[in-house]
Symmetry: C4
Subunit: 210 residues, 4 copies
C-alpha cells in the first residue's frame, strides 16, 4: 500500500467536493471510503453529518472491520460504515463510494419490483473494470432500503455473491453504491453509472409514448 | 453564541454564492439570514437587490425583531425580512434561507390547490432535523404569495403553528423557505428539499402517462 | 459616468465567463455591451468570434453609434453591434446582453407564430425594473431572425416602440436580448428571464397532457 | 506552426477539464487531440484511462500517423487514436475532440436507423466553419459503434468523403466527434453541436405528443 492515510483522506475530500458540486451528495447524504490497510482491514471514511462540499481531509476518520472508530478525532463515522466494510471485503475493493443523485434515486424506485435493471449496449460501459466491449450487459441489483445497517450489510453481501460481476447496486429511494480497486476507479464507476442512469432517464422521458 | 457577526456574515455570503451557482437565487431573488443574538433578537441578513453570486460579507446587514436596520451600513435589508424574523422566533431557528429555484417554484404552483404536498419514503428525508427514518412523511405547506410582507409573516406564523413538524414551506410561484438550528443545518435542509422537488419533478415528467 | 472603460470591460468579461459556465453563450454565440459615454454614444462590446469562457477584459472593443470601431485593438466587434447600439438608444440602456440558451432558443420558436409570449404571476418578475408585484404580466416579443443586422436593428427599434414596457425580446431560434440601466441590472434581467423560460419549459414538459 | 507542444498540451488539458465539469467526458470517456506537426503528421493526444477532470498537461502524449507513441512518457494513447489520426488527415483538422455527453449519446441511438440527423434553421449553426446563415442544414452522420478501431477509422474516412461538409459525426451509443482548424475552433464546434442536441432533445421531450 503506497498511499499514506493523509493522501487517501485528501483524495476522498476532493472527490466529495466534486460530487457535491454535481448535486450527487446534497444535504448530509452520500459517503465515501477507501482501504488504508487490507489486513487487518482499516478504512478511511467520511464522517456522519457533514457538508460534502466543505469537507476537509482532516475530518476523514479511520475505522476497523467492525466499523469501529480507530482514531480519536472528533466526529463519528457514517452510519453506513457497515456497508462500506462489507463491500470492501466481498469485492476486495480499494474504495467504496455511495452517491445519492436524483437519477439514481429515481431508477432505484422505478425498477424495484424487478429486483434491478439491465443496461446494455453503451460504449460508456467499457469504462467498468473488466468490461471489454459496449456489447456488455450490466445488471444493477436493487435492494430494499432499511435503517438497520448491519442487516442491510448482510443483504448487500448476499446480493454481491449472487451477482459476482456487478459493479454497483442501488438501495431503493436511497441511491447508488459503487466501488473500484482504488479511489480513482471507484470515481470512474460512479460517473459511468450516473451517466447511464441519466441517459436512460432522459431517453425514457422523451420516448415513452411513441 | 460562539460565532461573531463577521463569521456569520462570511458564512452567509459563501452559501449565497453556492446557491447562486446552482441557479437557486438568480436575479435579485432569494435571501438568507442567521441569528446573531437571541435576546433581544438580532439577525444578520442579506441586503435587498444584490447579486447573490457576488455578495461580500461586509454587505450583510443587521436587523432587530421588527426588521429594522441596526447597522449604519449602506444597503437596505431584504423586503422579506419580516418573514425571516417571524420564522426565527416561531421555530427558534438559528438560520432561515429562502431559495427561488425552478423546481420549488413549479411545485409551489402545481400543489397550491391542495394547500401543500407530501413527500414520503425517501432516504434523503433522514437529513431533516429529528427525522430518524426514510419512512417519514413530510408535509410541505404552500401559502399564497403576497407583496404585503407583514401580513404574509402573520400567515407564515399561523402555518408554522398548524404544522409544528414542517421543515419548510413554499410561497406560491415564489419558492422555498427552510431553516435550521444554524446555517449549516439550514443549508442541508434547503439542499434536501430542493433535491426532493427535483426528484419528484423528473419522476412526474417521466411517468405521468403510463 | 463614474466607471472607466477598463472597469466596464472587466465587468463584461466576468459576466461573459459566468454566462458561459451556465451554457448560455456556447460556441461563439452571445454578445455583451455596456455604454461608456452617452453623448456621443460609445459602447464597450465583446468581439466577434471569441470564447466567452476565456474572454479577457483587454479584448473588449469600443464602438460608436454607427457600430464602427473606435479603438485600434485587434479583433472586430460582434456582428450584432447594430442591435446593441439601437437598444442602448431606444431604451437609454446602460448595458445590453444577448444570451443564446437552450430554453430561450426553444421558446423563441414555440411562440413565434403568436409574435411573443406572456409570462405572468411569478414573484421572479419583481426583479425586473419598474415591476412592483408578481401580478405583473410581461410580454416578450419574438422577431424573425435575419443575417441583415441593420435591417434587424430597424425591426428591433420598431418592436421596442410598440412594447415600451418590455424588458427583453427573443429572436427566432436565436435567443434572448435583455438590457438594464447598468451591467448589474442587465445581468439580473437576463437571469430572471432565463429562469422564467426554464420554469415554463419544465412545467410544460410535465403537464402538457393531463 | 506557432504553438509549441507544451502550449498545445496545456490547452488540451484545460479543455478536457472544462468538458469534464459539463459532464461530457465522465469516467474514462472522451479524448482530445491536436496536430503538432503536419508533415510528417504528429498529434498531441490525451492518454487512455485518465480522469479528464484531473488531467495534467505533462500527461498528454505524442503519436505519429500510425497512432504509435513517439514520446517515452508513461501512459498509453487513447484506444481511439486511429480515428483522431484519420480525421486529422481527411479534414486537415488542427484538432479533433470526442465527447460522450448524455444528449449526443441519445441522438446517436434515436436516429441510427436513418443514418444520421439533420439540424436546420438555428442561428447557433453559424458558429460552424464556413456556415454563413442560420438557414444552413447540417447533416450529422451516425456510424455503428465498434471495438475494432482501425476498421472504425476506415468507416469514418468513408463517411467523411461522403459528407464533405459535415462538421461532426456520431458513433452509435458512443457520442460525438467534432474537429476544427485549431483547438479553439474544435471546442466551439463541440459546444455548438452539444447545444443543438440538447435543444432538439428538450424540444422533443416537450412537444412530441401535441
Amino acid at each position: 500500500m503506497s498511499e499514506s492515510f493523509a493522501e487517501i483522506a485528501w483524495g476522498l475530500a476532493a472527490i466529495a467536493a466534486e460530487f457535491h458540486s454535481r448535486g450527487w451528495v446534497l444535504g448530509t447524504s452520500g459517503n465515501l471510503s477507501a482501504v488504508v490497510e487490507r489486513d487487518p482491514l482499516r478504512l478511511a471514511i467520511t464522517p456522519s453529518g457533514v457538508d460534502k462540499g466543505a469537507l476537509q481531509a482532516d475530518q476523514i476518520l479511520s475505522i476497523d472491520e467492525d466499523a469501529r472508530m480507530l482514531s480519536s478525532s472528533p466526529g463519528k463515522p457514517s452510519d453506513e460504515s457497515p456497508l462500506h466494510v462489507r463491500i470492501a471485503k466481498e469485492r476486495e475493493a480499494g474504495a467504496v463510494f455511495h452517491t445519492h443523485s436524483v437519477w439514481s434515486t429515481m431508477f432505484s424506485d422505478l425498477h424495484f419490483a424487478e429486483g434491478g435493471l439491465a443496461i446494455e449496449g453503451y460504449e460508456m460501459l467499457k469504462g467498468l473494470e473488466g468490461v471489454k466491449t459496449h456489447e456488455h450487459r450490466e445488471w444493477i441489483p436493487i435492494l430494499e432500503n432499511s435503517q438497520d445497517m448491519w442487516k442491510l450489510a448482510d443483504s448487500v453481501a448476499e446480493i454481491l455473491k449472487q451477482h459476482p460481476h456487478a459493479h454497483g447496486f442501488l438501495l431503493r429511494r436511497h441511491g447508488l453504491y459503487a466501488w473500484g480497486k482504488d479511489s480513482r476507479q471507484a470515481k470512474w464507476h460512479v460517473e459511468i453509472l450516473e451517466f447511464l442512469f441519466e441517459t436512460l432517464g432522459r431517453t425514457r422521458s422523451m420516448d415513452r409514448i411513441q
